[in-house]
């Protein structure tokens, strides 16, 4: 890695980054998944994306760190123009942590190595520094005593907490969560949400795709409801979840909050 890149990395530790999305379109062939999204996230803000599956919320999240290439529109993350064709994607992604529904821990590496491989191989940190930072983050998620284990020896909830620690070792300025609790056993969901809440309170900018309405209501500064590739309603969590104005939002929340109270005729 060259010197300017290293300098860039340390500058990101100055604080959380904001995100600005304008006119974002994404289509897979004829299937238009995002139909013009405008959205912004202030530094340190926690935004929850809610909506039915297929509404485009995961795709939107994956466009932010360019795991998906949008067809049109612009995205800015901190000082990075994510949609600029000349942007250094790897440098940008080092500032953006991502947590996946399926954890995606590296099964051939120990918990500790999962957390140190990128700092060591990409940022060229000395082994001791990378391990010290990894242990700090593992302690933060309450798993430092499992550092030598393999991912397949951990429960789903523990794996997801390691995935969060792994992302944090890169000192990100923005964290993306893609349905982080959807693949977990119900009894382990709470631990993961508690760590996310802690992270939010520490001032991290977070975009969270989730079906956990209670979490969204308590932790999110803002909730964005998406349907069929568009933002239908957004606002403070208490307003969007507690008193939705749009019929589609009302309908979605009724289904999610009272899953047994669904009119089977529609």
């Amino acid at each position: 890695m060259t010197e300017p890149e290293l300098a860039e990395h340390s500058s990101a530790e100055d604080g959380p980054a904001g995100v600005t999305i304008t006119g974002l379109h994404k289509a897979y062939g004829d299937n238009e998944v995002l139909k013009g999204i405008d959205m912004s996230v202030r530094p340190g803000e926690v935004v929850c994306l809610i909506g039915a599956s297929g509404s485009g919320k995961s795709t939107l999240l994956r466009c932010v760190n360019r795991l998906e290439d949008p067809n049109a529109g612009t995205i800015t993350v901190g000082s990075f123009e994510a949609t600029d064709p000349d942007v250094d994607l790897d440098a940008m992604r080092r500032h953006i942590g991502m947590v996946f529904q399926q954890f995606n821990l590296f099964p051939h590496l120990s918990v500790l190595e999962n957390c140190t491989i990128t700092p060591r191989r990409v940022l060229k940190q000395p082994k001791e520094d990378a391990e010290a930072e990894a242990m700090t983050q593992l302690r933060r998620v309450g798993l430092e005593e499992l550092a030598q284990r393999r991912p397949d020896q951990l429960s789903g909830g523990q794996q997801q907490r390691v995935a969060i620690a792994r992302a944090l070792t890169m000192r990100p300025a923005l964290m993306l969560f893609d349905e982080p609790t959807s693949a977990l056993d119900p009894e382990t969901v709470g631990d993961v949400l508690a760590i996310m809440r802690q992270l939010a309170e520490a001032g991290m900018t977070m975009i969270v795709v989730t079906h956990e309405m209670a979490f969204a209501r308590e932790v999110a500064d803002r909730v964005v409801f998406m349907d069929q590739g568009r933002v239908v309603e957004e606002g403070p969590a208490a307003e969007v979840i507690g008193d939705p104005q749009q019929p589609r939002t009302q309908d979605f929340l009724r289904r999610v909050l009272n899953p047994t109270d669904v009119d089977i005729r529609d």
């Binding site: 760190n65 790897d90 992604r93 080092r94 991502m98 821990l105 590296f106 099964p107 992302a167 890169m170």
Partner: protein
């Protein structure tokens, strides 16, 4: 007397085992033991084959195979990456190579390297160079297809997670995708190593000096030297097992050590 399904299954199994043992005993009785001993197991007469068959033959076989396998692994990795490349010319070249070297008998590759190279370039290759590169060329083709399948079997989320952390594509390939692919392809790679061990005998077609003789050469020459029937070939065969069986055991050990995927 009513038989349950289970009783009937046991009875059937018992009859099969009984028949098998009866046939075996009958064969043992009618076999000409002294002729078998003279033709295949005349250990006393082949005494002078030792220790050379081990110190020279087995060592040469191991060397030819090891060089071939390492070259095959390197070539196979490059070809597998070419096959998965987004650049069509690479894919075509890799496909053409694989189809060619998988499709022709390995003996032709040995002949081409043993005689063709010296005719074309005037280079005189050693037995190790010929055997190693011939086995390497052939193994590359087989290993390439195995590795390609292994690389594709690594879940997509693994590479996504690596890229999302900021790893460049090559680093995600080297540190995340390739190590996991190797664990997946360990059993077929072991198979390939065992096949190579035996294919190393094809070096006989270019002729071998005494110091370069491998196991099969020892066996074939022994037939003329020791007047012990085919016993020298049996000895050579046993030496192949000395290589291949531990290889299988080692591979099984490594497989058990690597993490299970859920």
């Amino acid at each position: 007397m009513a038989l349950t399904t289970r009783d009937r299954a046991r009875l059937s199994l018992g009859i099969q085992a009984g028949l098998f043992v009866a046939v075996l005993i009958a064969l043992l009785f009618i076999m000409d033991w002294s002729a078998i001993h003279r033709s295949f197991f005349d250990i006393e007469r082949i005494g002078p084959m030792f220790p050379d068959i081990i110190t020279v033959g087995l060592v040469n076989t191991l060397q030819y195979t090891a060089v071939g396998f390492v070259l095959g692994l390197l070539g196979g990795t490059v070809l597998a990456l070419m096959k998965l490349s987004s650049f069509p010319v690479y894919r075509w070249l890799a496909t053409a190579y694989i189809e060619f070297f998988r499709g022709i008998p390995a003996i032709l590759v040995f002949l081409a390297l043993g005689f063709g190279v010296s005719i074309a370039f005037g280079w005189n290759l050693t037995s190790l160079q010929i055997a190693g590169s011939a086995l390497g060329l052939v193994a590359s083709a087989y290993i390439a297809e195995t590795l390609r399948a292994g690389l594709q079997a690594v879940p997509k989320g693994q590479v996504e997670a690596a890229r999302a952390l900021g790893m460049p594509a090559w680093r995600a390939m080297v540190s995340i995708q390739i190590p996991q692919a190797f664990r997946i392809v360990l059993p077929p790679l072991t198979n390939e190593a065992i096949l190579l061990t035996k294919d190393s005998s094809l070096i006989f077609v270019v002729g071998l000096t005494a110091g370069a003789a491998e196991l099969t050469k020892f066996g074939r020459d022994g037939i003329n030297i020791y007047q012990a029937g085919l016993t020298p070939l049996v000895a050579a065969g046993a030496c192949y097992l000395i290589i291949t069986v531990p290889l299988s055991i080692l591979a099984r050990r490594m497989e058990h050590r690597s993490p299970r995927k859920k």
